[in-house]
């Protein structure tokens, strides 16, 4: 009786497995010969330090899909989500896989920051930096019925009533928080940061008029902006953004060129990755970022700025960035000592 039950379930399951396996089928692996040298010998594990469905996860899956179906990688990828410790768990995992070249991780500068702030045992500089693939920008937004309509009004109100202006962002010790701290320092005002678990909650708070300003990526607020409920008042980017956000002033234009925060999406490998493997991934990722599909389905859709930096350039970039984060966070007291 028990076996009968198991057999029925097994065949039912087998049918569903077949169904999902077929629909997610592997594309023909037409491996265009790699330019001599190293190539992955087994499935490549792709670690994502956050939960499925988020920005990092979509990034990884997009790269994996384009790289494999486009033939830039002879082997398929296996995405492995490891949320926890704001990146700390995934970083530690990568450190334990030292010497393994068939494993990648998506890296976001927010995780670099939070592992620094939380004094995680493994930080980003312990790993091998691989190419940077995109920049994401940040906007300061208001509710259309909000009290303050511009940065200048915010400064005025904050000077009159220190602590009364409330700015919402998601999480602590990452890019949203950094934006806030930079504003506090360079605008020289006493504003208050209200922290939410996600940008969805921050948006709810802004829409419900529980905070005065909110910090978002363009992709997180574009729907509300189109509907006219939310207006961006400033951007933390270096240059003006395009499309719907072309009218938004940069902090440089407002008069505060020091307020600059960008989100960076890149990849990383295990500590001490071999030079040949690095060269392979450099090439593979460069090809991915040059495809039409990447540009239209990922960069454009998510309002990102396309960038490509080789691993060497990325290392230099991140070393500088890490120094910057360290000094700013120490200054504002987020990192103590």
């Amino acid at each position: 009786m028990k076996q009968w039950f198991s057999v029925i379930c097994a065949s039912f399951m087998a049918a569903s497995v077949l169904l999902t396996a077929c629909s997610g089928s592997a594309a023909p692996s037409e491996s265009k010969g790699t330019s001599g040298g190293w190539a992955p010998k087994s499935e490549i594990e792709f670690v994502v330090p956050s939960a499925p469905g988020g920005g990092s996860d979509t990034n990884a899956r997009m790269i994996a899909d384009i790289a494999f179906t486009g033939g830039f990688s002879p082997k398929n990828f296996k995405v492995n989500n490891m949320p926890g410790g704001s990146g700390g768990v995934a970083f530690s995992y990568m450190a334990t896989k030292k010497g393994n070249d068939e494993i990648l991780m998506v890296l976001h500068n927010g995780q670099i920051m939070s592992t620094l702030v939380n004094k995680s045992p493994v930080v980003a500089s312990d790993l091998t930096y691989l190419p940077v693939v995109a920049f994401d920008n940040l906007l300061l937004c208001i509710n259309k019925n909000g009290k303050y309509k511009s940065v200048e009004e915010m400064i005025e109100a904050a000077k009159a009533n220190p602590g009364s202006v409330k700015i919402g962002g998601s999480q602590r010790g990452n890019t949203d928080h950094l934006c806030f701290e930079m504003m506090r320092k360079y605008l020289n005002v006493d504003i208050t940061y209200v922290q939410f678990n996600s940008s969805g909650e921050t948006m709810s708070a802004l829409l419900g008029d529980h905070v005065d300003f909110g910090i978002f990526n363009p992709s997180e607020c574009v729907g509300q902006v189109e509907a006219g409920e939310i207006q961006p008042t400033a951007t933390f980017a270096e240059n003006r953004l395009s499309g719907k956000f072309a009218q938004v002033r940069t902090f440089k234009e407002i008069g505060y060129p020091d307020i600059l925060v960008t989100e960076v999406r890149a990849l990383a490998g295990t500590p001490g990755m071999s030079a040949e493997a690095i060269a392979f991934y450099d090439d593979m990722i460069r090809k991915v970022t040059e495809t039409e599909r990447w540009k239209t389905e990922y960069i454009e859709k998510n309002y990102l700025t396309p960038v490509y930096m080789t691993s060497a350039e990325a290392k230099k970039f991140f070393d500088e960035e890490t120094q910057k984060y360290n000094s700013i966070f120490k200054e504002v007291g987020i990192i103590q000592g």
């Binding site: 569903s16 469905g53 948006m203 529980h210 189109e226």
Partner: protein, 507 residues
């Protein structure tokens, strides 16, 4: 009415073969996944999402949505049959469902759960159709102080309600808060009580705790109390037997209706989800139902309250998602990512720019809900007979599911260790008759409370006034009073009255 017209069009769209198939596949997968401990709607949706890259957006969302609400149907199977909630919204279902199964009434429990789930879904879908955008807008009015009061309401009620001794229940609540404080704190983002272990940085995960305390804890119970299990009835259960009598139907219908309304509403609130709605509904029902003493020991009302609420909340979470582009919870956050992936712009304009998509989805929910009901009822005899499998086989098999289910949530063996540890903790606590459920519930609610408190104080600059400044807060404070303090005061007054009465009689 314009809405009716749009809805009819939507139903028509959902009846195309492609969309019907998507609905069916999503529903089946969801029920299977939901019944597996450790796998819930989040895992299911995340799994299927990448496969929908190339699908037509309407078919894709129909499938994923069907998967989401059908996991609420599936979650009750393992909760009722083996006391392992498939996912956290099913924890409350296990409280009454499992005792019913032990009494040989597994069929009835399953039937109640399925019927209640259907009612919950139906009411949720109706609300979504008629007042979706409005409900979402109203949900925005709930600020951090209001949400904090809501959680305080839940936290203070739990200890009283579960288990026979309020003081033990409150002790369990306190323990739950303590466990929840392992990990990063909301204010400074600094790790606390983490014993210097990076795995404990972000705290202990919910799933290993639930599976450990309920699932593996159940296994330990089976080994230690062998004899209790031998006494269970062993006749085959048919659908006919599972049908509820008139009397039982009369008991669960009002419960399902009112808890569905509450569930839909809680689902709409930002940050609250199916788990919270199941808890709240159970607590409320336990306070107002006339069979309240039976609840917790095997009352169909308990099963109905929890199941109707969690299904309603799952649907309710779509209101802010579709009308505001804001996810109501973890699973809808993944769906939001999906929307963007398919090239849609989530936000208030979605109803206007993509009416086919939105109404096709809503139309499909009516159909999907019925399909799920029929499938789950059809499975009842099959499932209910699982209870008849000899305990000897169940023990290692359940253990295997516990291990694999726990591991698969985060691909982490540490979680498995946590599960084992909590199974031991649950057993130890049981020896002092300290119930596990309040511990778990407190554990889920505390981080939210800390966050809302932190936000409220940041917003008000330290003043306590913010906690009484909105009408919603006042209503919630009154409810806390009515639910918790009033019964205590009434009891004390009654006792005094009785004493006086006795004295007069004797005098």
């Amino acid at each position: 009415m314009e809405t009716l017209g749009l809805l009819m069009e939507g139903v028509a769209i959902s009846l195309t073969p492609e969309n019907l198939l998507a609905c069916l596949v999503g529903g089946l997968l969801g029920m299977c996944l939901g019944s597996m401990p450790g796998v819930g709607s989040l895992a299911g949706v995340s799994l299927l999402l990448p496969l929908t890259f190339k699908m037509n957006p309407t078919a894709a969302i129909i499938m994923l949505a069907a998967l989401y609400y059908s996991t609420m149907y599936g979650g009750c199977f393992s909760a009722i049959l083996v006391n392992i909630p498939g996912d956290s919204p099913a924890i409350m279902t296990a409280l009454d469902g499992y005792p019913l199964a032990r009494q040989g009434k597994a069929g009835k429990a399953l039937f109640s759960a399925n019927l209640a789930s259907w009612i919950g879904g139906a009411i949720g879908i109706l609300a979504l159709t008629l007042i979706g955008p409005l409900a979402a807008k109203f949900g925005l009015q709930f600020g951090s102080p209001d949400l904090a009061w809501l959680i305080i309401l839940a936290l203070t009620s739990i200890g009283w309600i579960i288990g026979d001794s309020p003081s033990r229940g409150l002790l369990a609540t306190a323990l739950g808060i303590m466990v929840a404080s392992i990990g990063l704190d909301a204010a400074l983002g600094l790790p606390r009580f983490s014993f210097n272990n990076v795995y404990l940085f972000s705290g202990i995960n919910m799933v290993p705790m639930v599976i450990g305390m309920f699932g593996f804890g159940q296994v330990i119970d089976m080994v230690v109390n062998r004899d209790n299990f031998k006494k269970m009835k062993t006749e085959r259960i048919t659908i006919k037997e599972s049908l509820l009598s008139q009397e039982e139907l009369k008991r669960i219908l009002p419960v399902s209706f009112r808890q569905s309304c509450i569930g839909t509403f809680v689902g709409v609130l930002p940050g609250a989800g199916a788990t919270m709605s199941a808890f709240l509904s159970y607590i409320i029902e336990k306070r107002i139902n006339k069979n309240r003493d039976l609840m917790g020991k095997g009352a169909v009302e308990g099963v109905a309250a929890s199941e109707s609420s969690n299904n309603a909340a799952a649907i309710g979470a779509f209101a802010p998602l579709l009308s505001l582009g804001i996810p109501g919870g973890g699973t809808t956050a993944v769906l939001l990512g999906g929307l963007m992936m398919w090239g849609l712009q989530p936000g208030p304009m979605l109803f206007q720019t993509n009416p086919d998509f939105v109404w096709g989805l809503i139309g499909s929910m009516y159909i999907g809900n019925v399909v799920c009901l029929l499938i789950s009822i059809a499975f009842i005899p099959f499932l209910a007979n699982i209870v008849r499998i000899p305990t000897g086989y169940m023990i290692p098999c359940i253990t295997a599911v516990c291990v694999m289910g726990t591991f698969s949530t985060n691909n982490s063996m540490f979680d498995v260790y946590v599960m084992i540890a909590f199974a031991a903790i649950a057993y130890i606590l049981k020896q002092a008759k300290i119930p596990s459920a309040p511990l778990l519930l407190a554990y889920v609610l505390t981080p939210m409370l800390e966050m809302y408190l932190r936000q409220s104080f940041d917003m008000s600059g330290g003043s306590l006034g913010i906690f009484v400044s909105s009408p919603i807060s006042i209503v919630l404070i009154l409810l806390i009073f009515v639910f918790c303090l009033a019964p205590v005061m009434i009891n004390t007054l009654k006792k005094k009255h009785n004493i006086e009465g006795n004295v007069i009689d004797e005098g």
